[in-house]
Symmetry: C2
DNA sequence: ACATTTTTTTTTGTTGACAAAACCCCCTCA
DNA sequence: TGAGGGGGTTTTGTCAACAAAAAAAAATGT
């Protein structure tokens, strides 16, 4: 396990608070307030904030301050398309480097997703969905892809909460993941990449519909 | 123009120094040394370093220090594949949102590339190549894509210098860019994305050859 | 009453000092 | 001779104070 300074720990606390909706979008978060709240000095808070700025959850304006980044429709489009592209790439390499251990991990994650879908609890489904995709990214053996993807997952969680429903057709959702996992487990990069792209396109259309409602 | 604090300015100086090869790969860069060199306090240097860490040019280890990130073959593969994927995505959206002004910009950049190729100066060719691709990314109207791409461009420059030659067949290089710009100017997203992918695949095979020589 | 200028307050920017961890050299002892 | 342990040095981690910029509030003049 990697050692971490206070700054990193504070960043994690802050990140979780933001993800749990403790702040209003666009709200200014002053360094002194955070300093008092977390019991560390402003300098340390500053380190944490800079990290969250790089992760895209906080917007920083010189001599103005740090603000919870509000996401508009264009932001959502950006996050969505980028994530889609990275997932397709990850699926390709996951298939290319697949091992029997990797297949087991995928099967287990798929099983968890199925259980979550049966429970019909949105939070559980979203978590299992993300977990499965994260395993695919891990299997791609692409560290930079992993870093980018995790950040996009956080940003996605940020706006997914605001949507009324994640997906309507749960049967379809499961089936899409089944064929993707199959393709990766078969070690077919082209097929995996294509399916990943398609999978997300369906999601994207759903998203477009939701956004059009605004 | 956005205002920037001392920290950001120092980061830019440092970034340029690293790109110009002022440091050895893997070399530790102590905060105090930089502080003395740039005439700002350690705290400010710390801000700069953190920024470069996020850009991938510096590796940070808690309680150890900051080191010029050395790039091995796997790193190059990661950077290359990611850039490839992002360029394909950018080409798609550039074609989708193309305007007459955008076509002009592409034509001008293509012209610069042609001039550079005629000069046969590697540095000029690389610069013109990057400039053209950067315009494509700009035309995609995708801010996050732009940020990621710029970082990958820097990392690419970092290892491109170590290669003996960038490309052997200059005629082919130009032709590939011609067809890509044509596809984007025609407003054909699918075709543009496909060509961008292929273009980079050719580059990638060249890269593989170079790396195998180590 | 309104716009403008001045003053005050709030918030970020920068710095130097001190604490904690890691590193390095050297000494000891089996 | 070499493995292990101190102790001093170097380097990063954290902090609180002060400076600079921006924002808010108050005063001023028309």
């Amino acid at each position: 396990m990697l050692k971490r300074g206070l700054g990193n720990q504070a960043a994690e606390v802050l990140r979780n608070e933001i993800l749990s909706g403790a702040f209003q979008p666009g709200e200014q978060i002053t360094e002194e307030a955070l300093s008092a709240q977390l019991g560390v000095s402003r300098g340390t808070i500053r380190t944490s904030l800079q990290q969250l700025v790089h992760e895209g959850m906080v917007r920083y304006e010189p001599y103005k301050g740090n603000f919870i980044r509000p996401l508009d429709a264009h932001d959502v489009w950006e996050i969505y398309t980028l994530r889609n592209s990275l997932e397709a790439l990850a699926s390709r390499f996951a298939a290319q480097f697949i091992t029997s251990s990797g297949k087991d991990q995928l099967a287990a994650a798929l099983n968890n997703l199925q259980t979550a879908i049966k429970s019909k609890q949105q939070r559980a489904i979203v978590d299992a969905d993300f977990a499965l995709h994260l395993i695919i990214v891990e299997l791609s053996q692409h560290k930079r892809l992993m870093v980018q993807y995790k950040q996009l997952e956080n940003l996605t969680r940020l706006y997914i909460n605001t949507l009324v429903g994640y997906r309507t057709n749960l049967e379809e959702l499961l089936e899409e993941h089944v064929v993707l996992v199959e393709a990766i487990s078969q070690g077919d990069p082209d097929k995996s990449e294509l399916i990943a792209k398609e999978h997300n396109t369906v999601d994207g259309q759903f998203l477009q519909t939701q956004l059009a409602a605004d």
